[in-house]
């Protein structure tokens, strides 16, 4: 009897297509989340600031990660493996800020660049994945599924790490900056000294709950680190203003060096105001 009732329930739920479709999709996404690309993927050294964001708390060798519109986040992902002495390759990014990368702890001596792969993007990226541990790339506008599958297979086989700036269908996690606030700069005074950003990460498939973290990306010492507490953050912000004032002093000497300008620039006028803010 109970079985019969259960059967009717099941029959009913199958007969009504809309809720069943939802359920199947939800179940599929659960399965996809629980399926690792490989059972025992080797974990790669990860920058501590990003640990809370990534599924499993670490970067996994042989998988892909995508980042939306932030080269600084790409560099944060690269910084961990590069500090471990892993070779990095950057394909198709002529605008990659190398000096910033060096400041963030990426070893330029173990970095190879192919700024203009041209039509050979897939071959070049695949060949790069053969030799280096971390491949950073911007895919062309339209990548055929077959190319994605081939590159993904190559990455998995070589246990390399693929970091894509842009969309990537098979990424382990997608990172993006949802909120960004710069410190040290006002209207007409100071300079960019640090940024507090809220980074959100969506795990594989895009259906899990996004993880969020508030990070310094970077702080005044070119470091990535989590923001400790809102109150503390406010104090750090004031400290940044202080260093901002210092920085403007340096720039002032720059002006002297070029033999330019009296007190006319926005910067010169700004200095007393910053002092005032620090004092208050």
């Amino acid at each position: 009897m109970f079985e019969y009732e259960g059967m009717t329930d099941a029959a009913l739920s199958i007969s009504s297509p809309a809720p069943a479709g939802d359920e199947i999709r939800a179940l599929r996404s659960r399965i996809q989340q629980m399926q690792a690309t490989k059972l025992d993927s080797r974990s790669v050294r990860t920058h501590p600031a990003l640990e809370s964001l990534l599924p499993g708390g670490t970067l996994k060798a042989g998988s892909a990660y995508s980042v939306e519109r932030s080269t600084a986040l790409v560099m944060a992902l690269m910084a961990g493996p590069s500090a471990d002495g892993v070779w990095c390759g950057v394909v198709g990014m002529p605008d990659f800020g190398l000096e910033a990368a060096a400041g963030f702890g990426i070893d330029l001596a173990r970095l190879a660049l192919v700024p203009h792969p041209g039509d050979e993007w897939l071959t070049v990226t695949a060949a790069m994945a053969d030799v280096v541990g971390v491949v950073v790339t911007v895919p062309p506008k339209r990548v055929p599924d077959s190319a994605v599958a081939r590159l993904q297979a190559r990455i998995r086989q070589r246990e390399a790490l693929l970091i894509v700036l842009g969309e990537w269908p098979q990424s382990e996690a997608t990172l993006r900056i949802t909120e960004s606030r710069w410190t040290g700069i006002g209207s007409g005074h100071g300079y960019l000294a640090g940024r507090q950003a809220v980074v959100s990460a969506t795990a594989r498939g895009g259906l899990g709950r996004p993880r969020r973290a508030r990070l310094w990306l970077p702080d005044g010492d070119e470091l990535f680190r989590p923001v400790e507490g809102q109150v503390g953050a406010g104090q750090v912000g004031a400290g940044q203003l202080g260093s901002g004032q210092l920085g403007s002093g340096q720039l002032g000497t720059g002006q002297l060096g070029t033999g330019q300008l009296g007190g006319g620039s926005g910067l010169e006028r700004a200095r007393p105001r910053i002092l005032h803010e620090v004092a208050s």
Binding site: M75, L108, S180, I185, G194, G247, T258, Q260, L261, G266
Partner: protein, 536 residues
Amino acid sequence: MARGRRAGAAGRSTPVRSMVVWCPDWPVVAMARAEGVAEDAVLAADEFLAVIEKGLVYACSAAARADGVRRGLRIREAQARSPRLRVFELDTAVVNRAFEPVIMALEELSPGVQVVRPGTCALRARGPARFYGDEEGAAVAFLARLAEIGVTDARIGIADGLFAADHAARLPGRELVRIVPPGGSGDFLAPLPVGFLGGLEGADELIPLLGRLGIHSLGEFARLPLEDVQSRFGDDGARAHLKASGRDGQPVVPRIPPEVRESVSEFEPPLDRIDQVTFGIRAAADLFVQRLSESRLVCTGIRVELTSERGQVRERSWLHPRWFSSSDVVDRVRWQLQGGDAIETALESGISRVRVIAEAVDASAKHETGLWGSGSEERVHHGMARLQSMVGHEGVLTATIGGGRAPGERIRFAPWGDRVEASGAGAPWPGSLPPPLPSTVFEQPRVVQVATAEGEPVEVSARGELSAAPALFSETGALHDLRPLSAWAGPWPTEERWWDATAHRRVDRFQVVDDCGGAWLLALENHRWRAEARYD
């Protein structure tokens, strides 16, 4: 003590009959040839040329000398004396390389050539004199051979001792061959001024001192007793005394001709496709590398010379991060043929000759792979070489940080495998950006627009005054895309090369934050706003 014995030994040994071949103004001739000045113009002495080393005249052509240009003058003064003077920076590698054919031509006629300096070489006179009958005959034969390779103004001096022979060759006069009879070196040198001792060890002190002592000629110096000179001027003085008296025992030390490791492929008829050429040299490259490895050497640098059917020569040196295998050699030749363009396969004019010369060789024992392989580095080099064969030699880059103000200027790129030369990274560079640095530095600066709240473009006056506070910002440069700015700072003026009217650059830099929290580094130059970098 040891030095004293050396001087004594030199005194006891009898001077060797020496022959010095001198090519006048060799640095000028060699540099002019390298810079493409017509050679007969140099020889006809109507071209005003000077070679400069560290801001001073090192050598000059006969025409310039007639105008009063001398060695050791400053460029400005030389140009004032000879207004039509053309100056070249001295490149010792070029000068030495140009002299190589001369030495080889002499070595064909007589072994044991010593290169004194580029332009001058010495031989023992006895052998050639016996072979050609007498010294004069030998000298004429040598001059004839040199004229065949295009050196028509060489002079030869023959005397007892290198010093006397050198001056016999260099003494002004019309005769091309000057022979000082055996035993006559002392008499020959006697009337010459003591200034001719210049260039010897300790001569800088000796020559002015002799002048103050009233000794003006080498003969007067030679008449002083050797013991007195040695006790007063030391060993250097004693050696100078021996030279001045024509009893210079300095032997001719022949050079050991270097074994040239090269591979030459000639194509008849000339080949006009890159793949034909690379295929044509494959076997030669194999043989080249095989010969090197037979003598237990590996090659870490090569020079490739490509001669086209029109006679143009393109040469370039290539380095290898490890050592060249035969396929690496073929790759380098192909890249040089492509000239940075990875797609072009046809050539402007056919290639008739490819010459590959080993520039740097090393013992192969130092480059042996370990028992378990040399690990990841080797794999990386192989992989990058493969990438280079896909996107061209200049397509795979490594970078270092150098000096400069704008973020894009500070990075120095070098093709994979070449050495990166970075300079000025440690210098202060006032006006450069404070950290944190932008994570995106645009290869081509983007056109943007910055406007006041009313939509007027923001300008900076020559004195650095802003026309109004920036309030709106357009990422694309289009006016309908203007969005509000949440923060801005600047202008930070940079005035570069104000002393040079053509290279002068005045840039005002700004940092701005747009309403989405994205930060930009902007530059205002000639009333145009550009985004140089982005903090994304």
